[in-house]
Amino acid sequence: ESNHASLIPEEGKKKVPGLQGRWDAQSHELLRDFEATLLHMFGLKKRPRPSRSPAAVPRYMLDLYRLQSGEGDESGGEIAFEYPERSASRANTVRGFHHEEHMERVHELGEGEATPLRFLFNLSSIPEDELLSSAELRLYRQQIAEAGGDDNKTGLHRINVYEVLKAPRPGQLITQLLDTRLVRHNASRWESFDVSPAVLRWTRERRPNHGLAVEVLHLDRTPRRRGEHVRVSRSLHQEPGEDWEQLRPLLVTFGHDGKGHPLTKRTKR
C-alpha cells in the first residue's frame, strides 16, 4: 500500500473499454470539480497562474515562512531579522505588495526642499473578511563606503515615511508623518516602518488611497552619491548581480480572516 498520495483521485484515472470518451470527459470534470473544491478551501476563486517562472518571491516572505514553520532553525543563521511575534501573533495571513512602478511619482516641492517619492499600492486583493492588525513598509538601504573618510562622522540620513492624504497638486503634497528613522550609510540592511494607521484605514474603508511618500534627507549635506543609499527606485544602470525585484520597497500586511490560528512561531515537526 503506497503512502504517497496523489491529489488526482484514482477514480479519475480508470479507463473502461468502449467508454473511453465518456470516462475522459467525466474524469476531466471530476478533476476540475476536485480542483475547485481544493482552491475554495484555500480561499481562492480560481487557480493562480503566475506571470513569471520562477516567480519573484520577496526574500522577506520566504524567510518569514521558514521562521514560522521552524525551518529557520536549520538555515544556519542566514535570516537577518527576528520573527515579528507581535504582528504575527494576531494574524493568520501575511501578504506582500510591491508598489505600482508605472505610477511612481517624484514630487518637486520647491527649491531647497527634499523631494519625496510617492508609492501607490494596489490592495484590492485583500478579502473583505480579512481584518488587518498591522502593516509595515520595508525599505532597503545599501552601504556607501566612504573613500578615505571616517564612516562614523559622515553619512547620516533621515528617512521619513508619510501617508499622502489628498490627491497631489503641482508643488503641493499634503501628507501625515507615519514613521521616521535616523540611519548612517555605512551598513546594508532592511528598515521596517510602521504604516499601520494608514493601511488599516484604507482597507477598512475600502476606498482608493493616495499612497505613501518616502523622503530621504541627507543630514551632513554630502553632495557625493546622493540618492544611492536608500533604494527607493530602480537604478538607471543596474549593478552586476543586483536583482531589483529583491531590493524594491515592500509593503507587508498582517491580517486575520477568522479561520484558524495565528502564525505563531513553531518548532520544526
Binding site: N3, H4, A5, S6, L7, I8, E35, M41, F42, G43, L44, K45, K46, R47, P48, R49, P50, S51, S53, A55, V57, P58, M61, L62, L64, Y65, R66, Q68, S69, N92, T93, V94, R95, G96, F97, N122, S124, S125, K259, G260, H261, P262, L263, R269
Partner: protein, 113 residues
C-alpha cells in the same frame, strides 16, 4: 528454545503516513512552499471491546457494544480526533505573495468514534 512467533500485524485504528505532493497536479508553480507535506490518515479496526488507547468516546463504546449483538448497527469508525495547521507560502490569483496558516491539515491523533 521458545518457538519464534511472527509479529502480529496491528490492524487496530491508528495513524498512517500519507505524504501529499503538490507537484502531482502541477500546483508547484503557484505554491512556493512547502512542496508537499505529511498529512497522515486514520485507518484500522475498532474492535470490541474498545481499549483505552483507541481514544474513543462513551458513545463509541456503546455503539461497539451494540454492534457486537446486532450487525445492523455499524462499528465505530477510525477517524482523526486531533488535527493541526500548516502554513503555506503561495502566489494568489493577482500574483501577490501570501503566507497563510491553514487549519486542520495534519492528523495528529486518531480514535474510534
Amino acid at each position: 528454545s521458545p518457538k519464534q512467533r511472527g509479529r502480529k500485524r496491528n490492524r487496530n485504528c491508528r495513524r498512517h503516513a500519507l505524504y501529499v505532493d503538490f507537484s502531482d497536479v502541477g500546483w508547484n508553480d503557484w505554491i512556493v512552499a512547502p512542496p508537499g507535506y505529511q498529512a497522515y490518515y486514520c485507518h484500522g479496526e475498532c474492535p470490541f471491546p474498545l481499549a483505552d488507547h483507541l481514544n474513543s468516546t462513551n458513545h463509541a463504546i456503546v455503539q461497539t457494544l451494540v454492534n457486537s449483538v446486532n450487525n445492523n448497527i455499524p462499528k465505530a469508525c477510525c477517524v482523526p480526533t486531533e488535527l493541526s495547521a500548516i502554513s503555506m507560502l503561495y502566489l494568489d490569483e493577482n500574483d501577490k505573495v501570501v503566507l497563510k496558516n491553514y487549519q486542520e491539515m495534519v492528523v495528529e491523533g486518531c480514535g474510534c468514534r
